[in-house]
Amino acid sequence: MPEVLVFATLNGLVTGLLLFMLASGLTVIFSMMGVLNFAHASFYMLGAYFAYSISLYFGYWTGLILAPLIVGVLGALVERYGLRRVHQHGHVAELVFTFGLAFLIEEAVQFFWGQDTKNYQTPDLLDFPLFTLFGQEFSAYRGFMLAISIGIFIGLYQVLTRSRVGLIIQAAISHPHMVANLGHNVPLIFTAVFGVGTALAGLAGVIAGPVLTTFPGMALVLGSIVFVIVVIGGLGSLPGAFLASLLIGLLQSYAIAANVGMPDLLALLGLEFPRSHPLDDLWTLNLSQIAPILPFLLLVLVLIFRPTGLMGKREQ
């Protein structure tokens, strides 16, 4: 089974880092503005669709640059003319607004692009196997996804901890009024951060679109998982989001790879149940069957036993 383990780890890393690109924006937005943006994954979907349309005319690489920018501008507009307006009515209104926005974006995508799957292809330049291990290829494009995600993580970390802008953002996270009193334009920072966060989500969509299929349900599949990551990692904690992304990516990947389930557990315990038992569905459950809902189980457990999340400092 070594090949399964190696590839499960690689797959987990690819998924985990992709999730982190979404989660990083979400968690920074949350820590600054207190908004859990339900529509974050919708911006990810918009990224994929914009990049698809651009790639039809100008090729993949133009889409890679332009689509996140467009998404970022859209995000900034949403913050400026939507969220800021709702902000005065409190957090519930904001959450409900982003919830409605997610719904609206999904419908709008179906309106403009139609409901069927889009033929969004990986660029020819990266259409070769990077390496072959135990008979399975690891495509260059997945390597490219890994590289971009790691690059984003390092870049983001550097900006936030080293640069002047990063320091202001960090200050605005914890003491917005103080920062405003120092003469910084806090609303502008908010808009900018929201724009950059959504642009990151858009970028994730651009690079994930070709491998994970571009279709109107792609935001829904990812939406709540990203939420889960941010909460498990600790609201507002970037390292926490990183840890939780990898944790969830690897957890799901290993759960699918592991050929174990309740039958094995029961055999281990020496228990046996007849096939017609009312709880038969439970006794025959496999770990891989429930892999996609493991994050939610983790979420509930974390919130019950450690409401601050893994690395969060404050409770909400």
């Binding site: 033929n119 495509s139 599949v221 996609p292």
Partner: protein, 426 residues
Amino acid sequence: MVHSFFLARACSRLLSIFLIVLASSFSIQARAQDSEPVRIGFMDPLSGPFASIGTSGLTVLQFAADYLFNSRGGILGGRMIEIVPLDNMQSPTETQIQFRRAVSEGLRIIFQGNSSAVANALNTAVTRHNRRNPGQEILQLNYSAVDPILTEENCSFWHFRFDAHAVMKLNVLTDFIAGNEDIQRMYIIGQDYSFGHVVAETSERLLREKRPDIEIVGNEFHPIGQVKDFTPYVTKIVASNADAVITGNFGADMVSLARSIIDSGLDIPIYTFYAAYDGITATLGTDGKNRIRLVHNDSANPIPTGERKQFYRDFKAAHPDRDVTQPRLAMALSMLVQAMEQTGGTDPYELALALEDMRFTTLSGEEVWMRGSDHQIFQDLHVSVQTDEGIEFDADNSGFGLLTEYKVPAAETIVENRCEMKRPQR
């Protein structure tokens, strides 16, 4: 307590507005008269995440009605066919709501195809309605839901299926697989729901009967519509050294699975049901060439008759962006019209009797038989491959389409009747 009083005023005003809206929206349809159109309901997802398949079906049915009948003077001595869309969003609850709407509008015949869960829900609702409201029966024409249960345990006098059910299709598919000596190790993967389970259990059983030497190296279920990335599953397929895959996946789950298999460099055939049209053929394109094989009923390239070719061409001229995804809709409609002409009316009970054991020749020149004892149709079944060679009629305007490699005549697809039908008395 002006407060409550104000509320009452507001309520009454609101109410009066709604009453006006309601009143203007409901008008009970008058009984159909000779010159009035024959109204037929088409219930499938027309909005929401599954809409693409429903809207393409609606387009085909509407086109077939216009092309085959309305443009040739109508049916029953000059009456036109009117297709009434009923959007159920592929949700069992919406199906119930739309069913009531259909009853309220006086529709007596409903076409429905997508999702066996919905078909089951509709079947239950129709059977119940017909039992409780004798004289106002409804007929359900199922053109696509393939769960065997609909013509076996849950079979109903009021339900007719115009598609081969899952077990019949798998019978053909496994025959085809059994003929390929290269296949020694089979991997089965599917969505964790009833159809996925039927596919898994049946293919395992049939392969064991037909080719005991084929080893089933994996039998996996994944949650439906929840998997972001299929690569972890593909890793298991690679590790199992499988040399073919069977899957019942549809929609995005199908595309993502095939994509992941292709991306991992695994060059093995994928045997499946729903991997063509609605963007899937275009998305898989070259990568799916000679790799995707699917079992289906209607003929693919080469199209056998000129009549069917003309139907395709005229459809394409009217709807350049669409394909004739389900030609059996035209067949089902033609059979229904034949039953109407035979009985000289549109009474569902009479129509059902006329449809029983009807034999009909399709546009492709194939003869089909609607078995009277369980209302299951028998027709030629095909296994086709995705390719761009020898394709006269492609899918998604991609240049790629389906080329038939294997064909089983209707007579050989007949399965045992397992239906104990309760027949209403008149």
